[in-house]
């Protein structure tokens, strides 16, 4: 990437821009409604601005005053890709506030769901990345691989998008795993591991792809920290931060925090490929050591609680949920999705890129703008 094109703190804010190329909110390279204004000179992006809010629904406002169980179900509607992590985090907030112990078996099944969802999210990311790259064959094959994960999610959760597995105190009875389901999960992840290995090998050895993605859309480690980037996008710059390490639910599992050093599109794509293998590792451990026992703890009582917050590692990064409980109803709800903190990095990554690479530079940060739009809070000034 051309370092001279990066805007530093010393650069005057109002610079003379030759042309603006607005892309979106409806665009073939964007699977969600967002708009990126690219300020270009001779097809090189000098500055970028991303506008979201097209799909605003204000779910936090809708959650206010709802019974906590209903509010938890509503959080699944925030995102169609990582719906499970939203409901899980929302349930964790209630469990933390009400000091509820969750049975170990339920914890394991929640982990299996979370990691299957991470797999499907990362595979969707890789498929979409390849589509924007123009490599339709890899894109199609990744969607084909992802289908296995979607079927496993449907088998456990009952649906392909919103599974509704975690409930306060455990999981829903329909998500209980019997031997047949465990066997199917094992077969599925074995298939996935083989196909992903083949894909990774071919992807890395393709010189045309490597030429497109190496050294493009670079986010340096110090800039990533300054821009408060989170999740795999941050880890792709070399920062080994993974909230799963801090979550007690993940304590029984052995996994590595994957990092890459370059912070470019290649690092981001490889980051997700390698993280998929870690997710497979976690799922394998979970099904091999699945504890016996109950899946729900019903011995808890509703009470008023102060504002309680919880962070989890969503597929895209740090996910924050907080609310208070009053008469069993949700108050002061705030949700912050990873993409909103990553928007700064998306704009930054575009600078210095060719226009064709700009959408890819945005996509490398794995944006979920619909997720961001639905949960964003408008503050009256």
């Amino acid at each position: 990437m051309d370092e001279d094109n990066k805007i530093t703190d010393e650069t005057p804010k109002k610079q003379v821009i030759e042309t603006e190329v607005p892309l979106g909110p409806v665009h073939s390279a964007a699977i969600e409604p967002y708009r990126v204004r690219l300020f270009v000179e001779d097809e090189i992006v000098k500055d970028a601005e991303i506008t979201v809010g097209v799909n605003h629904r204000g779910i936090e406002r809708i959650m206010e005053g709802l019974p906590v169980e209903k509010a938890n179900s509503l959080t699944e509607k925030i995102c169609g890709i990582c719906s499970n992590i939203h409901i899980w985090n929302s349930v964790l907030v209630a469990e933390k506030a009400l000091e509820i112990d969750v049975p170990e078996r339920a914890q394991y099944i929640r982990i299996i769901m979370a990691e299957l969802e991470r797999l499907h999210s990362h595979l969707l990311y890789l498929a979409h990345g390849n589509e924007v790259l123009g490599h339709e064959t890899f894109s199609m094959r990744l969607f084909y691989i992802r289908e296995t994960v979607m079927e496993l999610l449907r088998m456990v959760g009952g649906n392909r998008v919103q599974y509704g597995v975690p409930v306060i105190g455990g999981i829903r009875p329909r998500a209980e795993l019997d031997q047949m389901k465990i066997q199917k999960i094992e077969d599925g992840i074995n298939f996935l591991e083989e196909k992903l290995s083949n894909f990774a090998e071919r992807f890395i050895s393709d010189p045309m792809i490597m030429s497109r993605i190496t050294g493009v859309g670079v986010i340096k480690k110090e800039d990533a920290l300054r821009l408060a980037v989170s999740g795999p996008t941050l880890r792709a710059t070399g920062v080994a931060v993974d909230l799963r390490r801090d979550m007690k639910e993940y304590d029984p599992f052995d996994f590595d925090v994957i990092t890459q050093d370059d912070g470019d599109i290649k690092s981001n794509l490889l980051m997700r490929v390698l993280e998929n293998f870690e997710s497979i590792k976690i799922i394998r451990q979970a099904i091999n050591h699945l504890p016996e026992g109950s899946i729900t703890n019903r011995s808890w009582e509703m009470q008023d609680t102060p504002i309680t917050k919880n962070y989890v590692e969503a597929p895209r990064g740090k996910l924050y949920h907080s609310y208070a409980l009053n008469d069993g109803r949700v108050r002061h709800c705030i949700i912050r999705t990873p993409s909103i903190t990553n928007i700064g990095a998306m704009e930054y990554a575009c600078i210095g890129c060719h226009i064709t690479d700009a959408q890819l530079a945005v996509v490398q940060c794995d944006p979920c703008f619909t997720c961001t739009d639905r949960a964003i809070q408008i503050i009256q000034l």
Binding site: P22, S28, A29, E131, G134, M208
Partner: protein, 332 residues
């Protein structure tokens, strides 16, 4: 030339055009169904859909005026494209070699250049709604830069078309001159006659190199992946063709299929000495060459990402150098 000869020539020209049209409507289907869908492990569209049924469907769609400063001219450009493609095919037919200068590689190059320029006009005449500025968030809510001149995505592709005219089409023009160097003539009848005497140009070192260069040029001219910088999904989407709807889009589809057949026929004429003519069984070889080009192009496209200038310039430069080597080898 007697009246009977003229009539036979006329029938041959019309017959060859009909064969070209019939073959060309199946080519996009073969490309997408038989090759790309198979590689991508998906069902793909019905084979008749992309080249035949889609244009028929578009012919019966409601005509929508494009968002263009000159809609009449913009809509007429695909028709001009079809006319140029037909002219290119007529030039290489042996029945019209008596036209001398018109049946030469200079005429071929000239018409191909016009075909390329059309994209530039299309791009500059299209102003799709996709690039219209949204004033509220841009200007009121503290945008980074306000009042910056806006570029439509089609303008961007128009500029790219201009660059393609400047450098992107080098390979195909260099490759066209390989048989010229061997035959020592720019006239097509001389080139065909030379190959009937000495065997096809393709079976020489210069011919093999020239064929590779021609194929790359063929893909660039057709804006196929990985050279599809005029219609990159990641930025300009369909580029110059974005605003075409109804029967005008049908013309675009027909024109593309026909261009595949015509460029393949040009290759068969220049490198194999087999001009397309319904009066000879070699028309079958023309069709085979067309199918081979379509299949190879589809395979290359399926396994390639889209190039940006960073990849495009070196590939064009490298292939052009190969073309120059082919010409040198032709002289030896």
């Amino acid at each position: 030339m007697t009246v009977v000869d003229s009539l036979i020539a006329l029938i041959a020209v019309i017959g060859t055009l009909i064969v070209a049209f019939v073959v060309s409507v199946w080519l996009p289907g073969i490309e997408r169904k038989f090759v790309q869908a198979r590689i991508q492990q998906r069902i793909g569209p019905p084979i008749s859909s992309p080249g035949l049924m889609a244009p028929i469907k578009f012919f019966f769609k409601q005509i929508i005026n494009p968002n263009s400063p000159m809609p009449g001219l913009y809509n007429s450009l695909p028709i001009i494209g079809i006319i140029i493609t037909i002219l290119l095919l007529i030039i290489v037919m042996p029945q019209l070699y008596f036209l001398a200068a018109f049946a030469s590689v200079v005429a071929l190059v000239g018409l191909l250049k016009v075909e390329e320029i059309l994209y530039m006009f299309m791009g500059s005449l299209s102003k799709s709604v996709l690039s219209i500025r949204m004033p509220f968030p841009d200007l009121v809510k503290g945008a980074k830069h306000t009042d910056v001149p806006r570029s439509f995505v089609e303008e961007l592709s128009s500029m790219r078309a201009f660059r393609l005219i400047a450098f992107g089409s080098f390979p195909i023009y260099i490759a066209i001159f390989v048989p010229v160097a061997m035959a020592g003539s720019i006239f097509l009848n001389d080139i065909v006659a030379y190959q009937q005497l000495h065997g096809p140009v393709l079976f020489t070192l210069g011919g093999i190199l020239g064929a590779i260069v021609f194929f790359v040029g063929f893909m660039i001219l057709l804006n196929e992946y990985p050279f599809a910088i005029l219609k990159t999904k990641a930025d300009v989407i369909e580029g110059p063709l974005l605003e075409y709807a109804s029967k005008y889009r049908a013309y675009v589809y027909i024109s593309r299929g026909l261009l595949i057949f015509v460029l393949s026929s040009i290759f068969a004429t220049l490198f194999l000495g087999l001009p397309p003519s319904i009066l000879s069984w070699t028309i079958l070889l023309n069709i085979v060459v067309t199918l081979a080009f379509t299949i190879i192009m589809a395979i290359v496209s399926a396994f390639s990402p889209i190039f940006t200038y960073k990849q495009f310039y070196p590939v064009v430069a490298g292939v052009s150098i190969l073309g120059v080597l082919a010409i040198i080898a032709s002289f030896l």
